[in-house]
Each structure stands twice: as structure tokens, then as C-alpha cells.
Subunit: 635 residues, 2 copies
Amino acid sequence: MPASVKALGQARPSGASMAPQARCCSPAALQRRLPILAWLPDYSLEWLKLDFIAGLSVGLTVIPQALAYAEVAGLPPQYGLYSAFMGCFVYFFLGTSRDVTLGPTAIMSLLVSFYTFHEPAYAVLLAFLSGCIQLAMGFLRLGFLLDFISCPVIKGFTSAATITIGFGQIKNLLGLQGVPRQFFLQVYHTFRNIGDTRVGDAVLGLVCMVLLLVLKLMRDHVPPVHPEMPPGVRLSHGLVWTATTARNALVVSFAALVAYSFEVTGHQPFVLTGQTAQGLPPVRLPPFSVTTANRTISFSELVQDMGAGLAVVPLMGLLESIAVAKSFASQNNYRIDANQELLAIGLTNVLGSFVSSYPVTGSFGRTAVNAQSGVCTPAGGLVTGVLVLLALDYLTALFRYIPKSALAAVIIMAVAPLFDAGIFRTLWRVKSTCVLARHTHAPRTLPTVFRDLRGTVAAGGLDLLPLCVTFMLCFWEVQYGILAGTLLSALMLLHSVARPKMQVSEGPVLVLQPASGLHFPAVEALREATLSRALEALPPRCAVLDCTHVCSIDYTVVLGLQGLLGDFQRHGVTLAFVGLQVPVLRVLLSADLKGAQYFSTLEEAEKYLRQEPGPQPYNASEASVPEHKVALLKA
Amino acid sequence: MPASVKALGQARPSGASMAPQARCCSPAALQRRLPILAWLPDYSLEWLKLDFIAGLSVGLTVIPQALAYAEVAGLPPQYGLYSAFMGCFVYFFLGTSRDVTLGPTAIMSLLVSFYTFHEPAYAVLLAFLSGCIQLAMGFLRLGFLLDFISCPVIKGFTSAATITIGFGQIKNLLGLQGVPRQFFLQVYHTFRNIGDTRVGDAVLGLVCMVLLLVLKLMRDHVPPVHPEMPPGVRLSHGLVWTATTARNALVVSFAALVAYSFEVTGHQPFVLTGQTAQGLPPVRLPPFSVTTANRTISFSELVQDMGAGLAVVPLMGLLESIAVAKSFASQNNYRIDANQELLAIGLTNVLGSFVSSYPVTGSFGRTAVNAQSGVCTPAGGLVTGVLVLLALDYLTALFRYIPKSALAAVIIMAVAPLFDAGIFRTLWRVKSTCVLARHTHAPRTLPTVFRDLRGTVAAGGLDLLPLCVTFMLCFWEVQYGILAGTLLSALMLLHSVARPKMQVSEGPVLVLQPASGLHFPAVEALREATLSRALEALPPRCAVLDCTHVCSIDYTVVLGLQGLLGDFQRHGVTLAFVGLQVPVLRVLLSADLKGAQYFSTLEEAEKYLRQEPGPQPYNASEASVPEHKVALLKA
């Protein structure tokens, strides 16, 4: 059955019926591509009620967040709302998770601010191109590429982004003016101008943050409404639940009301959001060229200007979206189809770019709101989308009264949970290990520092290096951070493949056992190790290569082994193989290695090589392969 | 002891004494950096005699080859000789193999012709920069990077280069004029102009080829001179040996003599080499900028023009040189130090560029001549170098009489042995497998073709794909061929790491065993496989993850396993581990995975999970680790 059906059906008591296993034949395949077909026929009134409440909760969260994230992206506030509804409608048809909501997120907004120079035209074009790239990846089933972005890289990036976004709001919280957007300059100017703090903004911002925090704590501790509760308790619980779930909307409305009251009195102590374009966004093609006062910027120039953003934005968008979907799928016991998710997010970005959306992805915070509100199907997104459209149509005139410090409070409270304090503990541990090492080892040179560091990395089991590199570089340029971290992970991976651990047991017969696979870059190292230990001993000794952990070998490895066998023969000693898995044996047989001998067990090999009486080796020619292996080979 | 000492001492009866093991302390380290210090103190008269003969033989080979290879590189003939002596002198001090001779080679000349536009200034600068890159790689011990160029890539490149070089000489052999250098154009124009063949050149070229072939066959069948032979036999054998070893010089001299005789009669039926610059090359800095008639080309422009050549030339140079050294070290039972070889070749190129050399590397053919002549130490190179210098000083006037077709014959006979006909057999086998598949499978669509091809690749154990890609693309642009082949190899490697084979045994308890290591890109696939097989069954069943072949895990894998354990717990079933190697267990313990249980053997695990009475699991907290494992963990 399609994963979505099960996903939607399993966790709710009134589960949807199970569809037949999806093959390449038409109805099941169509259901896999359009998961809505799987759950819509079973849609019930009870689900509708729950979906409606959840959609409303998410809508009341996304409206203030969208205004705030547009500020992070460096775009006019309405662009946040333009980006917030298309995902709901597309995901209604294509989504395989009931919880996920697509829309503007803090991290994606930060990335957009890096690559679009605060120009809406760039942002909309970036959404279109990112969507195309994501769709292509979905159709070509390239989702596996995301596996190569390792967890340390994601953690390093997320933590750096959290700090960048959070710190970026300090200036709005304090009402500081003229602070640049580059992180290091921002830190410098924020602290330099801290004396210019506007009391009104700072007080309002802090009050909003405290309110949000209190409401969030209440949310976490008030039990959900149960039908068994007495009506009065149910009502009060319901009220608290609504207030805490829609806390962003509540706090922002409160702040706007305060600002409006001051406006009426003629004195405005807050920096306000200001005029917002009214009404729904126009439906039109994304801008493939931009005409400014003096000249026209062509499509290829636009693309060149965005540069690495065209790789970073789609990839990180997919990564965030799939990470969110997997996380909630795991929590709520259903499966998602990663490639289908790629298609959903890609189509959202492409269609979104026709209504002036900037790139969107799955939002962790709002998906949590959705799940906690008890959403049953992606239909909840319809309510959210309609709410955003209504807000755009009727409320934009009111948005100008929202103080920027209130939005800053919303952002800071939204990104704070993403920050992983463990990173600093880990960094601290490395530092203390180095300090500790300084006390124990007397002479302190650069190599010893490196050795200690390497020891710590090896012992901790944490991939500290890519984490630290990504974290540090992301403050400079996000793409360099992610690229460097990913390359470092890949290099560490290739290094472990090229220099596999080798278990060596010395003795009259040398036994070498690669601790894991044996891939082509490793064969030279294996040959060196064997030569230096077996043939440079006086007298040269026989060796056994225990291939228990080797599941496949390629041409380069075969050539290397051939060379090794030749070396042993010239020295008049023997190299024997044991523990050959069937595919390896098959390759060795077909390569017709001269003088290759192999045994079933290590004991037999050692006995034979010590020239004690016992079983004889099998030679690597098909005639002498033991019966059961021949049978396997013929299979 | 340093590898070189042993190398030089072991194979000859009068072995050099053994030096103490090389540590970072001074004399041994110095000996490792300057291998001459290891063998010079033991130098004997007998060695001198053998080295002198070998050096002479190599010298008589290199002089005609150098003139010919300069033609391949598209440079005036003297540049071949300029490139032929510095390697001998540098290797005398730094070499760790007694057999290797550095100098111009066919393949390196072909590469030089691609990247230097037949301009000596570019070629000399390329030698300098390549040398610097090689030296840097040697000092940074980056030699392991060469391991990532797999054998199929090397074979594909070598075979393509052999065809390109060999075919490029057909025009000289036939005396055709005005044939362009680009391979495909060359093929077209050669066949189009075949009617213009000059009879004199063609006859002379073919005669030279036959002569070279006959002499080579004689060389392979005449036994070397033994002291026990009667003096007459010894003399005749010695004569034959000299003639066959110096066959290139002999044939070229013969052809030049023929041409000179015609010149004296006033009729010249051959295309001659023409005027060659006389005398030794000037010693001067390599050209960091070039001034032509109309403008000066700056250093950065020169570098930009050479482009990918700055990566391809140094890397292929190292590869060729180390392959040659390793091959002869293995044949003659000694060890080379790969990083020291990098330094030797790098320094040769840097110093060579001061005497107008183009990039050089280890020559397979001349190294074979050297070894067969019984060379004892790199001192043989001194003789070769001096011979080249003498030729430059006194013979250049005579070189103008050498017919081009004779040099073409020398080149063709030199590159022919490098061609690997096996490639075509392999390609043929793929084709016939596909044809065979066409007969057995009825419907024939593109996917089935791909599947057959993949089956062939998997079954043959040959990495056909990188081989074919490299072979084909090298005709178009060498760097693309090598790059594409290497990337393809790396991708195939990464794919096998990201999607490792998994042995699955179904039953009341699911048992999954990764067939090789478990690296971070694989963890998502593992999780998917386990979830879909264990938890989507009805009812969900317990699973055992058999980590026998896993020797290390990283942070991403730990997080993935943590998620998997959570998934199992939510379904009320158990995931147990067996076969944990000590490093893996240590990481799991330090990560403090909740609910992780492991067993010593698969049987125990299955028994426990089937809720039969038997041993209890160890929980992954240090208190319950069995005694012997704790001891290992503390170690």
C-alpha cells in the first residue's frame, strides 16, 4: 500500500482503508503520485473538525511569522504572506505526511537574504529555479544525494544560522537604526550603538518575549481537552489551549493594539512595520529579466548573480523539508516517500513563483503546531491557506501598526529551540582535552596538538571536525560552510575507505584481516602492509589474507592481489586467502589468478602453511572449488 | 633500514651493508631524503662496470627517442634532448630505485602537445609549475591521492594515448604534409591524403620498423653474456647484445646515413628532421612572461592558457613514474619510497625548466633497458646524462639528416607494447553479452539493455564503465577522459558505500547484516530497509542488526540507530545488536543509546527475542558490559 495511506490511517482510530500494494500499474502508481487519492475517499466529519482546528492554529501562527521572516529575508513584509499559502494547497494534493506544512522559514529566509540582495525579483526567480531543480531531482530520484550531507554538517549549519538570525533581530528588538546585515559588522555595530537603544522598543520587545515564553510553557504543561472532562473545565482548557497555540498572533495583535493606541494619542514610541502592499499578489510569470532605471539585467546575469544560491537554496530546502517530515513521521508512526516529498516541495516553489513567493520549505515549528493540534490529513493546510489569503485581502492595512520589536520577539522565540547547545559543550570538551593533554605531555608542539585533537575526535565518536568547520564558516558564507563541511565528511569517508583498519596477527604465519570492505583505493596500502610485514622479515614468511569482511572486489583490487601473489611467489613463500564470500570468490575465479590458494578456515590455512599434515588448499580454478561453492557460483 | 639500501643491496651478490632503521633522528632521515648516502660508501668497481654499460645502453636509446618525442610534443627536436639529462643527475642523488630513468616519454609528450600550443615557452613553464606541484605533493605526503586513480582509468587513458601517438606518426611514416594534430581531423586527413604518400619515406619507415622488430626479437631470445662462455662466443654474444640494446640508435644512424648518401648525390627522397639548434641549452629562469611581436603575455595569462594541464601533467607524471618504479621494484625484489619518488620527479622538473626542459617522467621502455643491462645503482644515470650532453654539444649538426620516417618508426615501436588489446576483447565481451541477452529476453527496451549491461559489469568484475568512458573521452580531451573516469570510479565507490549490500534473513525475527562497513550515507537506507521489513509487517516483528562486518560508526550513524531504536520502541518490539566490534561498542556506549540491547551471538539474540528462556541481553550502559569487553574498553 502507498506509504501515505498507512501514514494517515495508522495513527487515528478511524483509519483509512488499506490500498493494494503500489506497483508500476496505474491506480496504485497514480495514488503514489497523488496521495490525496488514497485518503480523500475515507474522509470523515470527525477528521474535518480536527483538520479545521489544526489549520486555524497553523494559520494564526504563520501570519505573524511570515511578516517577520520577510524581514529576515530582507524583503517587504507582504512577500512573507505571498509565500505562505501556495505550499498548503500543493501539499494538500501531493503530500505524504499529514503533519508537514510548507511555507517561509527562518533558515530559508536567511539563505534568501544572502543570495537575492533584498530584491524581490531575485527572490521570486530563485523560487522558480529552485523549484525546477527540486522537481528534476525528484523525477531523477536523486534524493539519495541528501544522504551525503552528514548530521554534523546539518547541526553546524543550523546552529550558525540560529545565531545569525537571532542576533540579527537584536537591532529590531532594541530599535537600533543603520546596522548593516553582514554578521560580523552587525555584531560590531550593535554593540557600538547599544547606547542608542529606544526604550519603547526594548520594553515592548522584552514584554513580548516574556509573554511568548509564558504561553509556550503553559502550552507544554496544560493537558489537551478530553471529552470526559466536565464542560466548565473543558471550556477553560479549550480557551487556554487556543490562546497558547495561537500565541504568536495574540502577542503580535496585542503589540499592534498598543502601538495603535499610541498612534491615536499622537506619540509613537515604537518602530513600526510600516506600509504593506494591500491585496492578493498578482498572478504572473516569474521575472526572467529585470529592468532598472538605467538598464536591463538579463536572465543569465540574474543567474550569475545568484551563483551558489542555486545549489544551496534547493538542497537546503529539500533537506529541511525531508528532515521535518521524517522526524514527525517517526514520532507519529507513519512513513513518508522522500521522492514524493521532493516533488511536492519543487512544485510548491515553481507555482509559488507565479504568485511572487520566495523559496519555501517545511517549517519545523508550524509542523509541530499542526501535529499537536491533532491534524488528520493534509486538508488542514487548506484552512491555513485560505486564512492567509483572507489576511492578505482584508488585514494588510492593519499590519502597518505591528511594531518591529514584536516581530523580532516572535523570530527569536521561534529559532531558539533550533539552537543546539551541545555543540558548545562538545567544543568545550575538545578544548579541555587539549588543556589536559598539555599538562600530561611535557613538550608541546603543533604535531602533538594535532595528535591530541585527532585522539579526541576518534575517542568521542563525534565528527567534530566537519561540525566545527561548518559552524565557523557559515558565519562567513553559508555556502562555503556547507560545502567545506560536506567535502570534509566525504574526504573522511574516502580516507576510511582508502585506508581501512587492518587486523594483523603476527606469528610464523602472518594473518591480515581488513576490518571492513576492500575498495580500490585501499589495495596499494594493503600491498605495502603485506610486503613490509611478510616479505621483508628474515626469512620471508607465508601470509594469510582473511577476507571475512570483504563483500566485493573490483578490477583494481584483483590486479593488486595479482601483483601481491607474484611478489610472494618470487620470494618462494605462499599467500593464501580465507573467508572468501561468494561474490569475491567468483571474481577471483573469473580473473584466473595464478597461484591463488584459499581455505575454508583460518586454522586449515595456518596448518597448511606451517607444513603440518592437514587439508589441502583449493586452487582458484573452477575445477577445485568445493561442491557447495560451485553450486553457489552456478546460481 | 631505508628501502633504497636494501633495494640496491639485496639483488646483487655484493650487497651494500644494512643501515639502521630510519627514525626522525638525523643520519637515517638524511639517508632517506638523500638515498645516495646509503649506497655510495659501498660502491665497488664491479658495480661501476655494470652501471657504465647500462648507462651507455640507456643513452643510446634516449637520444633518438628524445628527438622523436619532441616531435610528438610539437616542439623543435633539441627540446627532447634538453629534457633528457636533468633527470639522470637528480635521480642519481634522490632516487630510491636503481632501475628508473627519468626523461621525455611518449605519453607525457602527447600531454605537453595538448597544453602548450607547440610553444617552447609554455612547455618550459609547464615543467617548472608541474615540478613545484609535485614537490608540494611530496612534502605534504599527498601521494595517497594517486590511489584514487583506478586501474581502469589508467588503462583507458594509456590505450587511448597509445592510439593517438601511434596514429599521429603515420603521417610522418608516409611523408604526408599538412595533416592537422587534432586526432579526429588527423584520421580524416591521413586517409584522405593517403594517395600523396611519398614512396621514399614509406619504404624507409617500413624498413626501419622491420629492423627494429627483428632486433627486438633477437634481444628477447639471445641469452646474456656469461663469464663461463668461450671468448669467441662471448664476443659474438656481446656484439649482438650491444646491437640489439642500442637498436634505436643503430636504426636511426643507418637511416641518417642513407639520407646523407642521397644528399651527397643531390637527390633527397626523404623528409628530414631539418636544422637543429646547436650546443648545450642556456641556463636561465623559466619564462614567466612571453613577449611576442605585438604584445606581452603575462604570467597569469600563461597559466590560464595551460588550464587543466597544470593538474593533468603533474598527476600523470607522478602516476607514470611511480607505476614504473613500483613495477621494477616488484620484479627485482626491492622497495621504493613513493613520497621520495615524488620529490625526485618534482625536483627534476623544477631544475629541468632552468635548462629548457619540458615535463618529464619515468620512462617504462628505457627503465627496462636499464634493468636488462644489469644496472646496480642510479649512478648509471650519470653516464646517460653525460652522453646526452655530449650529443647536444657535438652531434646536433648531424641530426638534421635523420629522416622523420625513421623517428616515426622508433615512436611506433616504443608505444606499441603499451597498448592493451584486452580492452577490445572486454568491449567485445560486453557486446556479445548484450547480443546474447537479446536472444534470451523477448521484449527489448532501454531499461533491459541497461540491466543487462549492469549485470555484465557486475558479473565480469571489470570496471568496464570507467574504462570505456576514459578511453572514449581521451580522444576528445585527455583531461575530460581522466576526470570523468576518476569521478565515475569515485561515484561507484561512494555508491557502494552509501548503499551497502545487506544480507537479510526473514523469519519470526528479522536479521539484517550489512555485508561490509556501515558509513554515514548508508544509515538512511538501513533505516528504511529495517522499517519496511520489520515494522510494516503485520504484526510488527523484532529485528537483529548483525554488525559483524562493521568496524567503526560515526555520529550520523549513531543518530540513525537512535531513531531506529525509537521507532522499534514505539511499536513495542525490540531491535537488538549482535557481533559488535570493540570500537563500535565503545561508540554506542559513549552515545548512551536508550534501549540498545546486544548479544554475543545471533543464536542468543534470536532465542531472547522469541521469548524463549536463555541468556539475557547486555544493555548498552557500561555497568552491564561483559568483563572481557570492559577490559578492552578501558584499554
